[in-house]
């Protein structure tokens, strides 16, 4: 059955592997994927552990529905203590690895210690081998996957790997699979690198037996129609997530030249539709009918002929407006390089844009950059900076440390120009006109992050009636909700609802584009109980699923508090309050966040969460979720 997969404990120091079943009781509390990973993180990482030391734990998991008939059940979750922030490290990726891991017999991997030399894991049909990876060290993410498949003699093997950036402990290195699927945020690639873990390969022939296969198939057809009939899905089938950048730039909600503007006009060459002209087709992840991954050949420059996938919204921001570049060539090449090196594209672009503003302001000079002309809009310098970060050369060695550590090394007023929360750079969007989205990034559990709690549909001007239908289920809510994205009132509940929604899909192993992220009528708590029941046999109500999500999210909060989080860190950079937007539609122009109103939002957000004024879950809340005795070491 889908619930029969095991957990494996892999001690790299002593090269030992132990496996165990996952009790049904834990499934009912945490479902799987990110949820159960958060339990493991809280229980297995010692307080204060060095994120790049052997006491940190690298977690890999499939979701409860990963690899089943549930649509887009492709997701793999990667976790540990973040080398970037020191708080929760957690990243989620599509592709085919998660389903293959389940077919090889495992749902969760708990990787501890440090190997005495480069290794990779080979997981197949219930077996786990720790193998030498000396010959893979130094290879990029794409080469590594090919070499592992060749070595093991099976082209259908799925591989997760780090690139050179992870080996070099770049604090925002990611874990990659396929050409572009990245567990991108919080530096999980650096964590793997610190353990000398180069890759994990999986291949399985163990069927994932479904509880009610015929009914599951029929119900999934309904869900597929629900998803693919949405305009947002049809748009993504043509443009991928690039379309978001086009829409938000049209309004004036993107980040330009670090944070100096919120719209880039006349940049026709980097409009999604222009990039789409280069596309030779699209590809999809396991079980997905949307197929949002654009496929390209690079046609110019030193990477001519390279076959790439992506770029997505974030790479367009990272190698376009953020760094003042307006050519799609730079976007395509930048995207290709971060995928090969295994770098978080968002953090990479943000660090370069920040360095460019420091350069513009004279805080960094050509002396600091070894002659690299880091002026905004210098396409060649941007590409060179990517190389330097991954290889830890020149100024790249400092930028590779991530926002806070790099600011400390550079000194002067460098920190003033950082656009980050909790040491993680913000998405390439501008939230000054949108308090709900600002609250999302200020409070997200892994640092500034749109994928943790962003109520993106707040931008759609939906009628209150529609908002109530979405945000009133499965937990009743009769507080304010408004259609105006400039409002402060009512938004904290939207953020909390989205937290639970995104936590739940991450526990289930379903893509966020198949829930209420970009489309208001996508599957959510209403559809998931039946989906879970038909695929796994597990009987859960919508409220049960909400509680699982709440339990996991609360553990994330507890972990962060244990590692030093304070209320002051649930906050935005000063520039959000002190500098006004200078472009865009009248509704977004001349806007900044009001400090007092924002403080009230935080208060309300804490209250709705049943956290105290310092952001700590109350005893009552912990008891309601059964978390009062954690860590309990049940797994």
């Amino acid at each position: 059955m889908a619930l029969s997969r095991k957990i494996a404990y892999i001690d790299l120091t002593n090269r030992r592997v132990r496996t165990a079943p996952i009790p049904l009781e834990m499934r009912k509390l945490y479902l799987g994927g990110r949820g159960l990973d958060m339990y493991l993180l809280y229980n297995h990482v010692k307080p204060g552990a060095d994120p790049l030391g052997p006491d940190n734990v690298a977690l890999v998991s499939a979701g409860l529905l990963t690899g089943t008939l549930a649509t887009a059940s492709a997701r793999t979750h990667v976790a540990g203590k973040s080398p970037l922030t020191g708080f929760v490290g957690s990243a989620n990726m599509g592709g085919f690895f998660g389903p293959e891991l389940r077919m090889a017999g495992f749902d969760h991997l708990v990787i501890t210690g440090k190997a005495d030399g480069p290794v990779y894991l080979w997981i197949h049909d219930g077996e786990i081998e720790i193998r030498d990876a000396s010959h893979l060290w130094g290879r990029d993410a794409h080469q590594t996957q090919t070499m592992v498949r060749q070595e093991l003699g099976d082209d259908d093997i799925q591989v997760m790997t780090i690139g050179v950036a992870g080996e070099n402990l770049v604090r925002f290195a990611c874990v990659m699979t396929s050409l572009k699927n990245a567990a991108g945020r919080t530096g999980m690639g650096a964590l793997w690198g610190s353990k000398n873990l180069k890759a994990i390969a999986a291949r399985g022939r163990m069927d994932i037996k479904l509880a009610f296969p015929e009914e599951a198939l029929e119900y999934n057809k309904e869900i597929i129609t629900q998803v693919t009939s949405a305009k947002v899905s049809k748009t993504m089938q043509k443009l991928g997530t690039l379309f978001i950048w086009g829409t938000t730039n049209s309004t004036g909600l993107v980040r330009v030249r670090n944070f100096q503007s919120n719209q880039i006009p006349y940049a026709d060459d980097i409009e999604p539709e222009s990039i789409e002209e280069e596309m030779i087709g699209t590809a999809g992840c396991f079980g997905c009918q949307v197929h949002c991954r654009g496929r390209y050949f690079i046609k110019k420059g030193p990477y001519t002929g390279a076959y790439v996938e992506g770029p997505e919204y974030t790479s367009l921001g990272a190698f376009g407006a953020e760094v003042g570049c307006t050519t799609k060539q730079t976007v395509l090449v930048g995207n290709h390089l971060v995928n090969m090196y295994g770098l978080d594209t968002l953090e990479t672009g943000s660090m370069i844009a920040w360095a460019m503003e420091l350069f513009e302001k004279g805080i960094l000079t050509e002396k600091d950059t070894d002659g690299l002309d880091l002026r905004f809009g210098n396409d060649e310098a941007v590409i060179e900076a990517v190389h330097q970060i991954a290889q830890r050369r020149g100024i790249g060695d400092i930028l590779a440390e991530g926002p806070l550590k790099a600011a400390e090394k550079i000194g002067k007023d460098a920190i003033k120009y950082l656009i980050h929360v909790k040491g993680m750079s913000n998405l390439h969007s501008d939230e000054r006109p949108t308090p709900a989205l600002a609250l999302n990034i200020a409070t997200a559990s892994r640092g500034s992050d749109h994928l943790r709690s962003r109520p993106a549909i707040d931008l759609y001007h939906l009628p209150e009636k529609v908002l109530r239908k979405i945000y009133g289920n499965p937990v009743p809510y009769d507080g304010p909700l408004t259609s105006d994205y400039r409002d402060y009132e009512g938004k904290p509940w939207e953020v909390i609802w989205q937290e639970m929604c995104y936590e739940a899909v991450d526990c289930l192993g379903i893509c966020k584009y198949h829930t209420v992220f970009l489309g208001p009528n996508m599957p959510n708590f209403s559809e998931w109980p039946r989906l879970i029941q038909l695929n796994t046999g597990l009987e859960l109500t919508s409220k049960d699923i909400w509680d699982c999500a709440d339990r996991a999210y609360t553990l994330e909060r507890l972990f962060n508090l244990r590692e030093g989080l304070t209320r002051e860190m649930d906050w935005l950079p000063d520039r959000y309050f002190d500098e006004k937007t200078d472009r865009g539609l009248p509704v977004v122009r001349g806007k900044s966040i009001d400090r007092e109103e924002f403080k009230k939002m935080i208060d309300e957000y804490y209250k709705l969460h049943e956290w105290d004024e310092k952001g700590r879950p109350t005893k009552k809340k912990l008891e309601a979720l059964g978390l009062q005795d954690e860590p309990t070491h049940k797994l």
Partner: protein, 84 residues
């Protein structure tokens, strides 16, 4: 396994879908441009949009007609219509 007799949420959602339209990003009016139109001006607020047809019957905003919309915005800001 529980029996489902009423129409599922998924089916209800699909029935309510609309196509052939997009919303003006300035005033949120639902607009129906002529098939194949490259640009369309919102009759409600005067903002002009370049259109991309991702399917023959389904338009989306590709971007603003920059000059027109910037002039509209300047006028609007001068009249203090940005609000809030």
């Amino acid at each position: 396994m529980s029996k489902k007799t009423e129409e599922s949420a998924a089916k209800k959602v699909v029935k309510g879908r609309t196509s052939g339209q997009f919303r003006c990003l300035n005033c949120f009016e639902r607009l129906t441009p002529p098939p194949g139109a490259k640009t369309f001006t919102c009759p409600n607020c005067g903002y002009a949009w370049r259109i991309y047809w991702f399917n023959p019957g389904e338009p989306r905003i590709r971007g603003p007609v920059w000059d027109v919309n910037e002039a509209q915005t300047q006028k609007s800001m001068a009249e203090n219509k940005g609000g809030k």
